[in-house]
Every structure is written in C-alpha cells, then in structure tokens.
Subunit: 249 residues, 2 copies
C-alpha cells in the first residue's frame, strides 16, 4: 500500500516510485491511478470508483495471495483515512497470516506526504503545536461523535485539521463544525483552506473563523483552524511553538 | 525549509532533494545535516546543536536576505514541531516583507513525510480514524496544558500520537500521559511505539496501555495509542475506518 502524496510527481517518494516500477498490478481509485501512470512500465491497472473501497481491497488481497506483486495506491499517505487500514482489517476478518510464508499475505505500508503536511506547507506553519485531525465525513462515522470530537479538540486549544470538509452530498457539515469550534475560539482566529494542494487546481485561502463557512471548500480541500496563539502574517498562517517570548503580534 | 522525512534516503521527496542540490548553504541540527549530505554537491554546511533553534533560524534569514539560496533542514516534515514556524515567527517579529521583491524574504515550506506517517506505516494502520498529535515536551509548553489536551483527546476517543515521549531530562512525562489516557480508555487498548523509524536503529513495539509505560522510548520514538475500536492483529495496530460492519475481532 503506497501513498502518492498530494498530487505532484516531485512529492512522490522514491520508495513509492520504486514500488510502482517493480509491481505487476496496480489498483486504486481512478484519479490516483492516473497520478501513478508516469511511474509505471506498462503494468496492468485496475481503476475503480469512489465507494468501491472494500471490493478494491479484497481484490488486492486476492491478487497478492495468487502470487502477484500488487500495489494499492492512495492519495496522500496510505494510512490516514485511506486504504491501508481497510486491507489490514479485511486480512484480520479473513484470518489470513501476515508475512512471507506460503499462503500468507506479505503486506507493507509505505508512507507518503499526507494532505495535512502538504496543506500546512502551503499555508505557512499552522501545525507547529499540538493538533487534532478530524474528518467531517459522516458516511462512516455518526455525526454526534464528530461533533463531540470537534468540541473537545476546540476546548483543548488544539489546532484543527478538517479532512473531507464538504461535498455535494454533505453541504452543511463544515458550517456546523466551525460553529462548534467558535464556541471556544475567537471570531478572528485565522483559518486556512487549501484545495488541490500541489496540483494545477491549487487554491490557498486565508480567512477568519467568522468568515470561514462562506469560503469555497470541497472534497479536495483541507481546512486548518488555528489555536488561540495562531496568527496571520502576510498571507501565512503561523502557530507559535513557544520559542520566542510572547509579545503582541 | 525542507523536511527530510524519517531518515531513509528513499523517503526524501524529489522536491527536497532538488532544493538541496540547488542551494548555496545548508543549515540544520547536526544529525539532519548529516542526513542531507548525500544530496549535496559540495555546498557550505552550517550544523548546530539541539537548543540553538532560534540562532539557526535567524542565521538562515540573514543569509537569505544577503542573497544566498539557503536550505534549512528539519527531520520529518518541516512544519510539524520543526523549523518552519520559527522562521516565519521571526520574520514577523522582524517585520520582514515576504516575497520576491528587493529586501523581501522569499520563503517556501516544502513538505516531508512526518514521523506520524512513518511510524503509523510501520505499525500497520493506527491513523485510519480521527487523531490528535501531542508533544510531551514541556520545555516550551506548560505541563498543565499538555495534561488538559491529553485528557480531552482521550475523552473524545481520538487516536493519540505522542511526539517527544521521553528524554534523559524528562523521564516521567510518558508514564503520566498514559495514566491520564487510561482514565478514559481500557487497559488492553493497543499501544505502538516506533523508535528510529526507517533508520538502522529502527524498533517497533506493540504493547497494551497498561504495559506501555515500561516500554523503551526516547526522543527518537513516536507513541501511538489506539482509540476504543483499535485492535492488534499479528503484530499490527489497526484502527477501523468503519467500512466493515462491526463484529467481534
């Protein structure tokens, strides 16, 4: 299982590129498979749709058990809301032995540059202090649990990284999330929204908490809400680490 | 500002490697500068010690303002508890213009593979659901705030990633942190400890919350505490994303 990073070829690790070059079959969601193509040498490719994660993971396992060298591609890092966990979950369900032996599933997770690091880099340095990463997708998680996590993280003054902030089918979750966060953070708290990081469609917006719900965001976006010390400076979002004695910024 | 990833050359992004090849001066903490050497072409190197972050950042800014192409190296990702924020903070303090013009500081953050992604990959897939990343170093942060964050994150059932878990001068913080987490999570919660990820000294341990305080950990370690759904399977730490209907694991 590999992660291709945010989308630019220069952010694909040599380790992931080598796995693609050496494999026999590549599986993945359509747009990630397209991102992987420049690293392939004519290998077989099986692209599938957005909600076919389980079938894709089962298929990858079956091909691997049949002796194929399989790469399953994710965007960003394969272990952060991506495919690595599902494959391991299914291996556990199927009671497969993990390892190199006969009948065993030899499985490796190769890390990538996650969306949280890519977005943070484009904004400046919002993640210089403790943070929580929360997905706003309630497709697989009850919304009540997401709300509880948002509230606790906001009260703990953690920087917030919001994955999957908005989609056509989930238009209101981001607004509600920002409302919850505003319960323990000021209206002028800086908020950064990065969409299509390191891709042609890249867009970086720096706004304030009170205005953030109106900002454009979709499934390619990651939203960063500063903590009580974060500040904006010339278009950058900065969270102090604590090295410098406090003074008014 | 670049991040070299966890330590293996095959996890350095081509973008970071290119920045090293094209720069005129490299600055950084000693061991990161050593990691960067294979990517250099004889450029000047200024290595410095662990507590000299501020001097190093100021020096990097001064050299850049004097017209040098400077790379400041961090381990992992440069924006997660690393050097990117300090440079931007100092630029703000010094009221420097950011950008390409005369007298302005042209500054870019190039993302890297963070320790949280590297450690997670070696453990399996602990970060498949919402998580909080908290540093246990109280050198720059009051311990009371760290405790509050640990407690809130534990109550919110977030997976926990603990940076800087233990050092010679901070021997008790990890034990206390695990005690706080145990206030809202069961004794058999799986805990993964990854030290020296993707380096020769690499060590991966999978234990339970009640035993985790005894496990070896140092400044090269990252500690992962599962949420209430996380489970261990054949030496892997897996947090379900929610794709599969629940059944007893």
């Amino acid at each position: 299982m590999i992660g291709l990073g945010p989308g630019a070829p220069e952010l694909v690790t040599p380790q992931a590129a080598e796995a693609l070059a050496q494999c026999q079959v590549v599986l993945g969601y359509r747009s990630y498979v397209e991102q992987a193509r420049p690293f392939l040498r004519g290998q077989r490719v099986e692209a599938s749709g957005m909600t076919q994660e389980r079938q894709r993971a089962d298929r990858a396992i079956d091909l691997a058990l049949a002796g194929q060298r399989v790469v399953l591609v994710s965007g960003g890092d394969p272990g952060i809301y991506a495919m690595a966990g599902l494959v391991l979950e299914l291996a556990a369900r199927r009671k497969l032995a993990l390892g190199q032996g006969r009948g065993a599933l030899a499985v490796s997770v190769l890390p990538g540059v996650p969306a949280l690091a890519a977005g943070a880099a484009l904004l400046g340095a919002p993640l210089m202090h403790d943070f929580a990463c929360i997905s706003l997708s309630d497709r697989l998680t009850p919304w009540e649990l997401i709300e509880k996590r948002l509230e606790m993280a906001a009260r703990a003054d953690l920087v917030l990284v919001l994955y999957n902030p908005r989609s056509r089918g989930r238009p209101w979750q981001l607004g509600r999330a920002l409302e919850i966060i505003a319960g323990s953070r000021g209206p002028h708290t800086p908020v950064g929204i990065v969409s299509g990081a390191f891709r042609k469609t890249q867009r970086v917006e720096l706004v304030t908490l009170e205005r953030a719900a109106e900002a454009p965001a979709d499934m390619s976006s990651t939203v960063f809400v500063g903590n009580s010390q974060s500040f904006a400076y010339q278009g950058r979002l900065i969270t102090p680490r604590g090295y410098l004695p406090t003074e008014k910024n």
